[in-house]
């Protein structure tokens, strides 16, 4: 395990080595998060690299990544811990004679019978980890409330066992697509980072980083077209991941230029709605033809 980064430049370099091109504010906020042990809340449209950031950070710090994917209806049994009640039941069965009620009761609520779910696993791990709580906005508000204790004090209270404090301090990254307003209480405990679609220059660097074989002229045209597509009023604008996919697709096809035919053939890589496809074909196809 490497030590905590000493400077913003170091973390930017480290993330780059892990295949993530961090913007200035991204590197700064990530640096602050690791130094201050504060969770970071990363918000932004889908596919700008929020989850990637956590992965790259884990790679750079040399830590394990514990990931909790949130969804509607996620509850503590799936996120925090659960009692292994089958084992408890067997235990009761195994020594049903001779033991008194209180001994069995003390016995079956021990750590042995606890199933650690991602959050508990993250703070009770022997070596520090990076904890990624993905798409927190998909979960319910009740779940958010449950996270508060973990995020501010890095501890979990289990009624039968008492307080379980963190044995190691995880770096916590929460991501959100901003599909609903998160509670003030949660935001208060986090540093905030807003990731947006990158500028053409930056996206070009990102595409070149992930598809280095693609000729620079093609890559430049590609990001320009993607920027143009994002300008349109689409149901789902193309993400960075999709531009990279597109770059790889072009590589595979051996295209040396993006003209209107290549574009129409491959645009389904970046545009994924039928109505969007029509709109894009009409507008961008025309622009490319001229």
């Amino acid at each position: 395990m490497s030590a905590l980064p000493e400077s913003v430049e170091e973390i930017a370099g480290g993330l780059l080595a892990a295949g993530y091109l961090a913007g200035e504010s991204t590197a700064l906020v990530t640096y602050l998060a690791t130094r201050l042990d504060k969770p970071v809340l990363v918000e932004g449209p889908a596919g700008v690299g929020k989850t990637e950031l956590a992965k790259a950070l884990a790679g750079f710090l040399g830590r394990d990544l514990v990931r909790l994917q949130c969804y509607e209806g996620l509850d503590e049994a799936k996120a925090l811990y659960e009692w292994n009640y089958r084992k408890q039941l067997l235990r009761i069965q195994a020594e049903s004679d001779g033991t008194g009620w209180s001994e069995v009761q003390d016995d079956i609520f021990g750590e042995e019978f606890l199933l650690a779910r991602p959050l508990l696993a993250a703070i009770s791990s022997a070596t520090p980890v990076v904890l990624l709580i993905d798409e927190i906005d998909k979960s319910d508000q009740e779940f958010e409330a449950m996270l508060l204790e973990l995020l501010s004090d890095f501890q979990i209270t289990i009624p039968e066992l008492g307080r379980i404090a963190a044995t190691s301090q995880p770096v916590v990254v929460l991501t959100s697509n901003n599909s609903r307003e998160l509670t003030e209480a949660l935001k208060r405990r986090c540093l905030y980072l807003w990731l947006d679609y990158p500028t053409v220059e930056r996206e070009l660097e990102i595409v070149r980083l992930h598809a280095p074989e693609l000729a620079e002229t093609v890559a430049r045209k590609l990001v320009e077209v993607v920027a143009m597509v994002r300008e349109l009023d689409l149901k789902k604008p193309p993400s960075i991941a999709e531009s990279i996919d597109w770059a790889r697709a072009l590589l595979l096809l051996g295209s040396t230029d993006i003209d209107s035919t290549t574009f129409t053939d491959t645009m389904s890589v970046i545009v994924k709605h039928r109505t969007d496809l029509e709109l894009v074909a009409e507008r961008v196809g025309l622009a490319l033809a001229s």
Binding site: L28, V29, E72, R86, N178, E181, L191, Y192, T275
Partner: protein, 458 residues
């Protein structure tokens, strides 16, 4: 004068602008400053923004306030210390026979255009001061900063549209990038304000941020996207509602037969308990949407809500009404494009009769006749309208029978609560039978989503 005091003042200012800045946020920002090199302005701003501004809207407000706050702080300090710039480009107060009169205006125009095309901020700062010295004559100045900025911009011939008179290698030939030009204007504005403060030796009163300053750059299209987002969430919530309820109430029924069968594996001990599966409730939604002239501004919003709902639910029937009611489920099912839908509805829904004013009484009666047999306690009826009857009988009794047949009834009113029951608004006649919400922003729509998806215990 110390930095911590300034930071607290900034926090105060941000609170005034509507940001939720608590003590813990301020403590965080101090902690953050301990970790970064805060002599660098950009880093400083980014670092405290990460602790104080926690949404994109907040961040926009933060940047505006931050900029203004430190500008004012610096100017206040300058007045206190009695510092006056000498010989520099004092802008409006600049000297007549100094550098200003010798500047070749055409050359200056070209240089500024070049700097704007390059997006070179440092050069823009220098050139703005030069430009002020050259063209910011006090006798032309109107005294209103905004007017002066535009005057200077015109004098410098800076335009975003292409000017083909210039040679092709000149940046003005293809027009200048709008965003950098805006930045340049901001710099000029700043310089002019500075000159004004220097002249009068007082700070202008700090003006609260108007709604304009903080408004998102959005058009109806962006609104449409926002509505779709909220409704997508609504659908998800409804889809998982059954599960949520199970978690909340834990009244699962044990499937005894399957539990016994499973226990054979463990020697007759029922280790694994099998439950009866619970079917999530399938929502059935009836939406009635007012499209009359009194809600013209809102009806685009409502139609987009309707459109988004249709994307989300299969079992949904929608109606539009003015004087009569007309079912438009078909139109939405056929057409996915929002613009085409609204045109189709405007063209041939056939809901206006003679006057073009809403007649709620008649609408209820027709609605009852249309769907009476289909309504059942699991159905949800949503009315989108302003409850302005134009003096006609509201016929709340018919509405009551409809509401009694349906499981739940909601009313979304596009008017602020303040205007309810004023004039011919009769929303109070209906509120005993439904839950009414004011709904004219997507934010309020979200509140409604919350209410709609909380399970009804009856």
């Amino acid at each position: 004068m110390s930095i911590d005091r300034r930071l607290l003042e900034l926090g105060d200012e941000l609170r005034g602008a509507g940001l939720a800045v608590g003590t813990s946020e301020l403590l965080d920002s101090f902690a953050v400053l301990g970790e970064v090199d805060w002599r660098d302005r950009d880093t400083f701003q980014q670092a405290i923004a990460a602790t104080l501004a926690k949404s994109p809207e907040d961040r926009r407000v933060f940047d505006v306030v931050f900029e203004r706050f430190f500008f004012r702080a610096a100017e206040a300090a300058a007045i206190e210390a009695g510092i006056v710039e000498v010989g520099g480009a004092g802008g409006v107060g600049g000297d007549e026979d100094g550098a200003g009169s010798q500047i070749d205006l055409e050359e200056l125009r070209r240089q500024i255009a070049q700097a704007i095309a390059d997006g070179d901020d440092a050069r823009l700062h220098d050139l703005a001061r030069l430009a002020l010295a050259a063209v910011g004559r006090p006798n032309d100045a109107s005294g209103v900063v905004g007017v002066d900025v535009q005057r200077i911009r015109r004098l410098l011939g800076l335009r975003t549209d292409p000017q083909p008179d210039y040679p092709p290698d000149d940046p003005r030939h293809d027009g200048l990038p709008a965003d950098v030009l805006r930045r340049f204007e901001a710099i000029i504005r700043r310089e002019l304000e500075r000159a004004q403060i220097e002249r009068t030796q007082t700070l202008p009163p700090s003006r609260p941020l108007g709604d304009l300053d903080r408004a998102l750059p959005s058009g109806p299209a962006a609104d449409l996207a926002a509505v779709h987002k909220v409704v997508a969430q609504l659908r998800r919530r409804l889809a998982t509602q059954g599960v949520e309820r199970r978690g909340a109430r834990r009244h699962d029924h044990v499937d005894f037969r399957r539990t016994m069968r499973a226990s054979l594996q463990t020697g007759g001990v029922p280790v694994v308990v099998k439950y009866r599966p619970r079917r999530p409730r399938r929502p059935e939604i009836y939406v009635l949407c007012d499209v009359s002239t009194s809600v013209t501004s809102a009806s685009v919003f409502f139609l987009s809500v309707l459109h988004a709902l249709h994307d989300a639910f299969r079992r949904m029937r929608s109606f539009v009404f003015i004087e009569r009611i007309s079912e438009v489920t078909e139109v939405f099912a056929r057409q996915r494009n929002f613009k085409a839908v609204s045109e189709a509805i405007a063209a041939d829904a056939g809901v206006a009769d003679i006057s073009g004013y809403t007649d709620y009484g008649r609408v209820w009666a027709e609605f009852r006749d249309l769907v009476e047999d289909d309504l059942h306690p699991r159905a949800t009826v949503i009315v989108l309208g302003d409850a302005r009857t134009n003096g006609r009988d509201p016929r709340a009794d018919i509405f009551a029978t409809v509401a009694a047949k349906a499981g739940r009834t909601f009313w979304l009113n596009p008017e602020p609560r303040l205007y309810w029951n004023y004039g011919d608004s009769v929303i109070d006649a209906y509120t005993p039978f439904c839950r009414a919400f004011e709904c004219w922003t997507t934010h309020q729509l979200e509140d409604f989503v919350k209410a709609l998806t909380t399970p009804a215990y009856r």
